[in-house]
Subunit: 305 residues, 2 copies
């Protein structure tokens, strides 16, 4: 029997298999890498962007090896790779392969959004491939990717289609966790409700439910505003939520329980610096501290659903 390639089904299976809803954020800062990974890539006297990019890839691989077993997905932050140029993009490609090799889904934190013809190109880059006279060029092969909805429905459709064609899921920004998110996403509309509620309705419309009941279009739902979560679940009853803001950004994982109302796989808990920098807080070797912190989060979230 062929397993469903529907993203919601793939996500539900992965969460059940790995018994984890934790998403490992990969936001590598070249000035703050794990010492061993940085040392393997080259000594500081070896100048050059390529060495910095190799160090970033080695750091991400070590972090995945340490914390990955407690996680269901890895979430590379594209900005942190792009700032290292073409070598950084190569490090990103290596990181995606390493995460896939470790059995993790890969959620590309790209926050892309553009007019339809360009949105199709982003879909090729993030989840699909590009036909060329020199053969098909495979993109990053993300299992999921974050998307900015400001340009409207026709700009989202090509990204939804690109994901659906390969069983990958877009996660659309509905309400982010930064204080400034209130400036626009919390604006009251003349027709009633806030802008983020309008975004939530749009996300609910875009998704199609699979056998698991979960839809194949997700939502980024800022965890620092837990009082919004019940309303979000009401507006998007079968949507997977990506909950950033846990750990370093100040969110509290216990406040997230309403997100799991549609099943364990309906709430993904992201943590990045709180895992990568756990040794600074709790002491010990970076890998061991990261492993412990990821496992602590995994147990905490699993116990809520």
């Amino acid at each position: 029997m062929t397993q469903s390639a529907h993203f919601g089904d793939r996500l539900a299976r992965a969460v059940a298999t790995r018994e984890s809803q934790v998403v490992l954020g990969l936001d590598p800062d070249p000035a703050n890498l794990w010492p061993q990974a940085a040392g393997e890539a080259g000594t500081p006297s070896m100048a050059g962007p390529a060495v910095a990019a190799r160090a970033v890839a080695a750091h991400c691989a070590a972090l995945i090896d340490a914390a990955g077993p407690a996680c269901v997905a890895a979430k590379p932050q594209l900005a942190c790779f792009e700032r290292l140029g073409s070598g950084g993009w190569l490090a990103l490609e290596e990181t995606v392969r390493h995460a896939h090799g470790a059995g993790l889904l890969v959620l590309l934190d790209a926050k892309r959004g553009d007019v339809p013809v360009t949105a199709r190109a982003y879909g090729q880059a993030l989840a699909g491939s590009t036909p060329t006279p020199w053969g098909e060029v495979q993109g990053l092969s993300g299992d999921a990717f974050t998307v900015n909805p400001l340009l409207g429905r026709d700009a989202l459709d090509p990204l939804v289609e690109a994901g659906r064609a390969v069983g990958a899921g877009p996660f659309v920004l509905v309400r982010t966790s930064n204080p400034g998110a209130a400036d626009l996403m919390d604006l009251e509309l003349a027709a009633g409700g806030k802008l983020w509620e309008r975004l939530a309705r749009l996300v609910d419309e875009l998704g199609e439910a699979g056998d698991s009941g979960l839809k194949d279009v997700g939502a980024v739902t800022g965890a620092t505003e837990p009082e919004h979560l019940e309303r979000m679940r009401e507006l998007m009853p079968a949507t997977p939520f990506l909950l950033p803001g846990v750990g370093a950004q100040g969110g509290d994982v216990r406040a997230l329980a309403p997100a799991f109302a549609a099943g364990r796989a309906s709430g993904l808990v992201t943590a990045s610096r709180s895992i990568a920098n756990a040794h600074a807080e709790h002491g010990g070797a970076p890998a061991e501290a990261a492993r412990r912190e990821a496992e602590r989060l995994r147990e905490l979230a699993w116990g809520l659903a």
Copy 2:
């Protein structure tokens, strides 16, 4: 006398020197490159993403050589390079260098936007540089870049600061040219006005005027809705406007006159497919057709201001 590194001043000088407000959009499709550029990169039997990326770089260089003299800036669409992986990013870096070598400003069409810590990383990637133990890694060195404001003021500030530090300018999406832009950007707010009018006020606040009178934060203002332009100019009296939608997207350059009310450099006219594919419409060799079409647009826009 040192020339001002204020973006508005740099833009005003460039427009005056080159007598052009035309921005050459670079949206390379590997399946539709100019035959000569594609042939130089490798024969179709030589499979591989690297050849496709080299062909894209050669195509962009040929397009810049042909149409660049009639333009003030080149605008690479990042999605079209990202879909070719690390080789594509290398082609992007080469294209930026080639455009700079041809005396053009480079406006990176990236539409980035993220929470503050990530916005800083995007600023490093687009206009700044990243400190690492292996030396400072220079980013793409864009003179300008497009930005998505959905995440609010605190997410825009790091991008404005990154630009200001090097005399580069962010162009913030206010109203895009796709039909779906109406879904969200045209929503009426309870406090009065539309969402795009709120975005316009935010852009006006973010920018600081230089000696030329022009501000250092621009706005992307969809040219397919020319009736909005007067209102946009009212809300952003000294902001440079990036006017997409001319040519292939159906805009009419003569409807843009209100954009130039704050001086010639206050309205930049983007054209991409109408220049690159001019030979399909008007016949002739691709380079010659592109040169003619860019020059036609340049004269048309210059005559309006």
